[in-house]
């Protein structure tokens, strides 16, 4: 008979290996990021600019065929303060995860905000990317360490609402 402290079952992990494919649009984005550039794609029907691009405009169901080079500046579209540590994450809570809307883009992506007290972060705040040293760049958005405030005046959140052409 088993002691109560002994397991009477066997644990095993299920692991599967994949060769992941980002898709041609996202691959293009990742290649550009490795050179310190941010590229999006534009829908020729509604003019929405997607970054990172997925190769399609879900609004119109058509490929986003035009490449657009974007700056690494934008604003905070939304954010949340993370208080609970995530295993393996080197950043000490509390920290801020924010949806960053780059200038000229019509969707936002998730990144970190640093170099400002958490309590001062707000929607509409202007931010810019802080890049890792160039020798550490890879095909990853982690080439940007985080975003920091630019000190420019805030933008009105209403101005972010997309109006299709």
């Amino acid at each position: 008979m088993n002691n109560s402290s002994e397991k009477d079952y066997f644990e095993s992990l299920i692991s599967l290996e994949y060769t992941h494919t980002a898709g041609s649009a996202t691959t293009r984005f990742l290649e550009a990021v490795a050179e310190g550039k941010i590229v999006g794609q534009k829908c020729l029907r509604c003019s929405a600019v997607y970054v990172p691009p997925r190769g399609s405009c879900p609004r119109d169901g058509v490929p986003t065929s035009e490449e657009v080079t974007l700056t690494d500046r934008g604003c905070v579209e939304s954010f949340t303060v993370v208080h609970i540590p995530i295993p393996g994450n080197p950043i000490e809570p509390p920290f801020v995860s924010a949806m960053i809307r780059l200038d000229g883009a019509n969707i936002s992506f998730l990144h970190l905000i640093q170099e400002i007290p958490v309590a001062e972060i707000r929607i509409g705040m202007r931010v810019e990317a802080v890049w890792k040293p160039q020798e550490e760049w890879t095909t990853s958005l982690e080439n940007i360490k985080w975003f920091k405030p630019t000190g420019e005046p805030d933008i009105k959140p209403e101005s972010l609402i997309f109006k299709p052409k």
């Binding site: 599967l16 060769t19 992941h20 494919t21 898709g23 190769g55 399609s56 879900p58 169901g61 490929p63």
Partner: protein, 351 residues
């Protein structure tokens, strides 16, 4: 009862490895093609349903990403089955029947190249008794082929004939692989993957997507669509416990033929999603046809896009009926190991 018909079908050229193209890039062309074929736009579609398997992509809710290929801007009525898209068509059929929609777009997609398909399919097995043993789909298919041999229903010559018939018939389908079949001597000398199955007996690893549009009779009149009626459709599943099944019978198929009152004598052509040569032999016996007379498209042995190949049986029968050479067709889609879950659809040309 309300009549519902298939009005358009598009299939990608099947690839053994679509490489950098992701699922969205596979789906979008077939959706655009099927819309162009029917002269419909996304705004005419009342209901969209997809069939795919997140395990193939190795990401939770991966099917949601696939929606980027269609106009998903709200409002949209949309659903998904974690199964072959033949079942997405079945769900769409019920939606139209219930009056919830008039025109439905169905698409199925899958890339088998990024992972190990045999291992992935093991995870679709019963998670308590079977999956922990990791039997792969070819092992299980081998058991079924062995059972057939022991019952005197199958010879290796039959299996070779199925391989050759598929390669020959696949010339009818520009999307299928161009397979050069082995001679009988070469075939008999081929290495076994899982006895008695050789690589020739197994459907090839395939990447691709397919799309179908179905519509109610009213919608067909309104939009000037040219339907092939779905006269009968149903599905039935066998036990998930392989030990409870006689693998030499495909009981759900015989049950369904009774239930749906399908008379094989009236059927002109049959497409079956038999993914192994012995399954072709078994289904040809059940459907009372010669091996050469089923799967005029070549069937899965000439290209087997997971989660789309079942929908393709309906798509191919639609195409054959459209070409006016035939009037009644039977499509047979499957899911699960050893032909466990079966869907039959009987299509009829209005001519």
């Amino acid at each position: 009862m309300k009549r519902i018909g298939v009005v358009g079908y598009s299939q990608n050229s099947i690839k053994s490895d679509a490489g950098a193209a992701n699922e969205v890039e596979l789906i979008m062309p077939v959706v655009h093609e099927v819309l162009a074929e029917t002269n419909l736009t996304q705004s005419n579609i009342d209901f969209t349903c997809s069939g795919s398997c997140d395990y193939l992509q190795g990401a939770a809710f991966a099917f949601v990403e696939g929606l980027n290929a269609i106009q998903t801007y709200p409002p949209i009525k949309e659903s998904h089955v974690e199964m072959d898209a033949a079942w997405a068509l079945y769900e769409s059929y019920l939606r139209i029947l219930s009056g919830d929609a008039e025109i439905a777009l169905i698409y199925g997609f899958g890339k088998s190249s990024p992972g190990n398909l045999d291992q992935i399919m093991s995870l679709q097995l019963d998670p308590y008794y079977v999956a922990p043993l990791w039997p792969d789909r070819v092992n299980l298919a081998g058991l079924q082929a062995q059972s057939m041999m022991q019952a005197g229903m199958l010879t290796r010559e039959d299996m070779h004939a199925a391989v050759c018939a598929s390669a020959h018939n696949a010339k009818n389908n520009p999307s299928a692989f161009n397979i050069d079949p082995p001679s009988l001597e070469e075939y008999l000398a081929s290495a076994m993957i899982s006895s008695p199955l050789t690589k020739h007996d197994c459907a090839p690893i395939s990447d691709g997507a397919s799309a179908i549009i179905i519509a109610s009779e009213d919608a067909c009149k309104k939009h000037n669509l040219d339907p092939i009626w779905i006269e009968k459709i149903g599905h039935q599943v066998d036990s998930s416990n392989l030990g409870f099944r006689d693998l030499t019978l495909v009981k759900p198929v015989s049950d369904l033929m009774n239930k749906l009152d399908i008379d094989l004598n009236t059927i002109d052509i049959i497409e079956t999603q038999a993914q192994f040569s012995h399954e072709v032999v078994l289904m040809s016996q059940i459907f009372k046809r010669t091996i050469q007379d089923i799967n005029l498209s070549g069937g899965p042995l000439a290209g087997n896009v997971m989660m789309a190949a079942g929908l393709d049986t309906i798509g191919h029968t639609y195409k054959f009926l459209k070409s006016h050479q035939h009037s009644v067709a039977l499509a047979h889609a499957v899911s699960g190991p050893c032909l466990q879950h079966n869907l039959l659809a009987c299509l009829r040309s209005p001519l």
